[in-house]
Structure formats: structure tokens, C-alpha cells
């Protein structure tokens, strides 16, 4: 049941990506910007990784810089990485690529394949992500330009949408998105979101005890509660949802909640503060 809302949210954000430059062409400037930094009716919202890099690259910390990063950080504190699961335009493209991969595997190769190869250790995936973020930020500080911006999948996607609307063309960076999608289709599904994406890595740092998360209502959540475990193959991040609902990788996409045949997985967090 969450699937419908999630798709609606994703498609709305994807449409917004094209709507903003169209509105700007008609000289309506209520919303301006791309997903690097967007301004909605005077409220400036920026990708916090971009702000982090600008701080290191320019060596300064200003109020407008910090205030732009507050909203995404607050959202991540309350709802977890919902930006990734529910809004990110690249994640939607990745969803499409992985669905195509699954369809190709079942129809053409005649073999069932999980949406994502189950990774036994989410720890290593997290270390990859944070290492990449750390190296990128250090590089930005060292050479004085925000280098991770060249590798920001949602930012590039929305910039390309803007360039397409304004100039009916694409710039070279779309090749990066194309390469990522091809790799996700052929080799490792979701590898960018799981192992590299700096924005997702930074947002997941703000997961706290009251952040929205997935909990299992079984007596012993450490072991799978049924043999089929459809939640395992449903999780795009390769987690074990019955056990790792609060993992830093989790995007709160609620695929596992929809997949569970026994309705044992539920959202938990600041919304449903219960004594423990």
C-alpha cells in the first residue's frame, strides 16, 4: 500500500524537475534551481553534501550556507533517508533499470533473480559510502572545487532536465547517468545508491533513535520469521529488513512492509513513541 504513495511522490518530484525550468521560461520564479540547490518560495534548500564541500573548498562558513542545509538535515532526522527512497529522481531511474533487469532475467534468461543481490554485510556497504564521502570532501578541500558535484546523480539528472527544457539538448554529464544505469542494468543493481552516492551517505548520518525506521513485530527479530522471506528480495539496499530496519542504509522505502505476507513489519519512530 505504501508503494502507490511512494511512486506518486517519486513521479511528482521527477515532474517537478521538468516543471521548474518550464515555469522559469514563463518567468514564474516561485521555484528556481536544480536538486543541487532549490529555492521554493524563498525557502532555500540545498543538498547538504554540496554545502559541506563548499565549506571546505572556499574555507568559509556563512549563515546562508548553513541555513540551506537545515531543511534536508531536519527531514533526515525525522524521517530518515526519505529523500533517497521517496524523492530522488535518480532512484526512480534506478528503479526502472532494476525492474527492466528483473523482467529481462525472468522472461529472457528464464531465471528468477532478486531485485538486488543480498549483501550479507551492510557494514562494508556503509564503509564504502562513508569512505567515498570522506575522500570526496577532502579532495574538494584540497583542490578548491566541489568535486563531488560532478558525481551527484540527482543533481546531474535535474540539471540535464533543465538544460533539456531550456536548450533542447543535453550536456556531456548525462553520459555519467547513462553509464550508471547501464551498470545497474547489467552488473550490480543499485550499486551507486548503496556503495557510492555521497548525498545518501551524508543524509544517513543523521539517523537517530527517534528517526522513522522499520521494526519487526516478531519475538526474535534476529532470525527470519518465515522461510520465504520475501522482504529480503524486496529490499533494494540488500538489507535484512526483519533485523536491520534501523540500518544507515535503509531508505524507508517500505518495500519490505508491502512484501511481508504476514504484516509483521511496521514503521516506528517519532510518530509512534512507545515505551520500551
Amino acid at each position: 500500500m505504501y508503494r502507490r504513495y511512494r511512486r506518486a511522490s517519486q513521479i511528482a518530484v521527477f515532474a517537478l524537475m521538468f516543471a521548474v525550468p518550464v515555469l522559469n521560461l514563463y518567468e514564474i520564479y516561485a521555484i528556481t534551481g536544480t536538486f543541487y540547490a532549490i529555492n521554493i518560495g524563498g525557502l532555500g534548500i540545498a543538498d547538504p553534501v554540496v554545502i559541506l564541500q563548499a565549506m571546505f573548498a572556499a574555507g568559509e562558513l556563512t549563515v546562508p550556507l548553513l541555513s540551506a542545509a537545515i531543511f534536508p538535515v531536519l527531514l533526515a532526522l525525522l524521517l530518515g533517508r526519505v529523500w533517497c527512497g521517496w524523492m530522488c529522481p535518480y532512484h526512480l531511474l534506478s528503479d526502472v533499470a532494476c525492474a527492466a533487469r528483473l523482467a529481462a532475467a525472468t522472461r529472457i534468461l528464464k531465471k528468477a533473480e532478486p531485485a538486488s543481490p543480498a549483501v550479507k554485510r551492510s557494514f562494508s556497504a556503509n564503509m564504502w559510502r562513508f569512505g567515498f564521502l570522506l575522500v570526496g570532501t577532502a579532495a574538494a578541500g584540497a583542490i578548491g572545487i566541489p568535486v563531488l558535484n560532478y558525481l551527484s546523480a540527482p543533481g546531474i539528472t535535474s540539471t540535464e532536465a533543465m538544460i533539456f527544457v531550456k536548450e533542447r539538448t543535453f550536456s556531456l554529464e548525462i553520459g555519467f547517468i547513462a553509464v550508471l544505469l547501464c551498470l545497474e542494468f547489467t552488473l550490480i543493481p543499485r550499486f551507486w545508491c548503496r556503495f557510492f552516492c555521497p548525498t545518501g551517505a551524508f543524509l544517513s548520518l543523521f539517523r537517530s533513535s527517534f528517526t522513522l525506521r522499520i521494526v519487526s513485530e516478531t519475538k526474535n527479530p534476529a532470525v527470519p520469521c518465515c522461510k520465504e522471506s520475501p522482504c529480503l528480495s524486496a529490499c533494494p539496499m540488500g538489507l535484512q529488513p526483519y533485523r536491520e530496519g534501523g540500518n544507515l542504509l535503509c531508505t524507508n522505502c517500505a518495500r519490505c512492509i508491502d512484501a511481508c505476507p504476514h504484516q509483521r513489519l511496521k514503521f516506528d519512530g517519532f510518530l509512534t513513541a512507545r515505551p520500551r
Binding site: 520564479y29 534551481g33 543541487y36 572556499a58 568559509e60 550556507l65 583542490i143 533543465m162
Partner: protein, 260 residues
């Protein structure tokens, strides 16, 4: 390619520059209100909001290279019309958000090449430009006519040929409209451009202009003109003001060529 690599290595190892943040080229300008290039490259997050909001489509996105994705104005294609819409929208302060007065922008400084400029050629009687069979030239003065800061940025010396003044902000409208091809007779040297060999004599002037304009811009923008005040100021602009002190430096003769 080899030249580019050699220049890159020279900048890193000989001059000790950061090659990623000091990219200058003539007629390639940052939007008005851009801070110092080094800070700009760090602060600009490539969100392209300035590009979206520019009503003239002047701001273009840089292609492959270290400044990829950052905004540039290429005055040969489309100059900046100094509406200052982009400054307000910059989320990180790479463009000074408090800058409202176009006269305080520091994009660069125009430089006239007298060997191409029609007005200069017209006055320089003996000079025949390379490749031309006869003397060409005209009292064109397009740059003066199109300048939004007439008599502050550019003046007509003796009502005859254009001279760039210290008030030039480098919007590049003169470059866009300059009729000479393929090279323009008036080009804009971006603020902070450190290439003395390219900027020549005008580099020092451009540098001083940039420093003074930056110090002016850093003060609170109390001098911003709006509404009636701005209109008054515009009505007061008078082309004849600076036109008196010209001395004709050419020898006159009684005989006129081709006159019997």
C-alpha cells in the same frame, strides 16, 4: 593538447598556482556580483539557478574542464544586461546577494584594440590594416552608443573615438555589438585575470579597478538606486560632459588628397 598540458604543468610547478581555480579567458566572464575567482570556484555549487533566472539567456554553463557546470557569460554571443537578477538568487554567496547597483558589478574591463577599431582606424590616416588594400574605417562608436554606463564606463574622446574609463563593469554589451569580424575590436578582460602577457598594459588598470570595485562592493549597498532616483540619474546622463579636453594630435595639411 600538448600546449594545454605544458601550460597546466607550468602553472602547478613553476608558478605554484592551483590550476583548478584560476581559469581565465578573454571574453569569458562570471555573472555580475561574482566574488573573487578562487572563492567563486569553491562556493559555486553548480546549481545553475542563475542560468535559469537570467531573462536574456546570457549566462551559459561551462563545458568539460575544471569549471564544468559553473556559469559564464560569453559576451561575443550574448552580453550581460546588468539586470542583477542572478545575484539575489545565488544560494551560497558565490554571487554577492546584496549587490543591486549595476555600477558596482565587477565582471571585468573592456579593452579596445586600436588596430581593428573602425573609429581608431578612421582617425589614423596612414594606417592600412593587415590584409586590406586600402584604408578602412568609419566613425562607428557603436560601443559608446550601446554602453549602459555611458560616460562612466566609456567616453568619446573629442566626440571622435571611444576610450574606456574606470567605471567599466565589463558587461560586454560593447563586445556583443562591435561590428568588426572575425575579431571584435573591443573585448572584455575578466576581473582578476592574471595573464599579464594577454592583458598587457590594461592588466594593471583592470586589476586596480577590480580591487577598488571589490572594496566598494563589500560595503553595504546603501547607494543602490531605485524608482524615481534611478530615473533622475538616468535623465542626468549627458554625453557632452567629458567632451572638451580633446586635443587633435594629428598634423593638418592644406592639401587634400584627390583634390585638384
Amino acid at each position: 593538447m600538448a600546449d594545454g598540458l605544458r601550460e597546466f604543468l607550468e602553472r602547478v610547478f613553476v608558478r605554484g598556482q592551483n590550476p583548478f581555480v584560476n581559469n581565465y579567458a578573454i571574453n569569458r566572464l562570471r555573472p555580475p556580483g561574482a566574488v573573487d575567482e578562487r572563492r567563486f570556484m569553491g562556493l559555486c555549487i553548480r546549481c545553475n539557478r542563475c542560468l535559469e533566472v537570467c531573462p536574456y539567456g546570457s549566462i551559459k554553463r561551462a563545458g568539460v574542464g575544471p569549471p564544468m557546470g559553473t556559469p559564464y557569460v560569453f559576451p561575443e554571443q550574448k552580453a550581460c544586461y546588468l539586470c542583477m537578477a542572478c545575484c539575489r538568487l545565488c544560494p551560497t554567496g558565490a554571487l554577492d546577494a546584496h549587490l543591486r547597483n549595476p555600477e558596482k558589478a565587477v565582471m571585468g574591463k573592456a579593452k579596445i584594440d586600436p588596430s581593428i577599431c573602425y573609429s581608431h582606424l578612421f582617425l589614423d590616416r596612414d594606417k592600412v590594416p593587415q590584409g586590406a588594400k586600402q584604408k578602412i574605417g568609419a566613425l562607428c562608436n557603436t560601443c559608446y552608443n550601446v554602453c549602459p554606463l555611458q560616460d562612466k564606463a566609456i567616453t568619446l574622446k573629442g566626440n571622435l573615438f571611444p576610450v574606456v574609463l574606470d567605471g567599466c563593469v565589463g558587461c560586454g554589451i560593447c563586445t556583443e555589438r562591435c561590428p568588426t569580424r572575425p575579431r571584435r575590436a573591443i573585448n572584455v578582460i575578466p576581473s582578476g585575470m592574471g595573464r599579464v602577457d594577454e592583458a598587457g598594459f590594461y592588466f594593471g588598470k583592470a586589476r586596480r579597478h577590480h580591487d577598488s570595485a571589490v572594496s566598494r562592493a563589500e560595503k553595504p549597498s546603501s547607494g543602490a538606486l531605485k524608482g524615481e532616483e534611478l530615473l533622475d540619474r538616468k535623465y542626468k546622463i549627458d554625453g557632452s560632459r567629458d567632451a572638451s579636453d580633446f586635443q587633435f594630435p594629428y598634423e593638418t595639411s592644406d592639401q587634400i588628397e584627390g583634390w585638384d
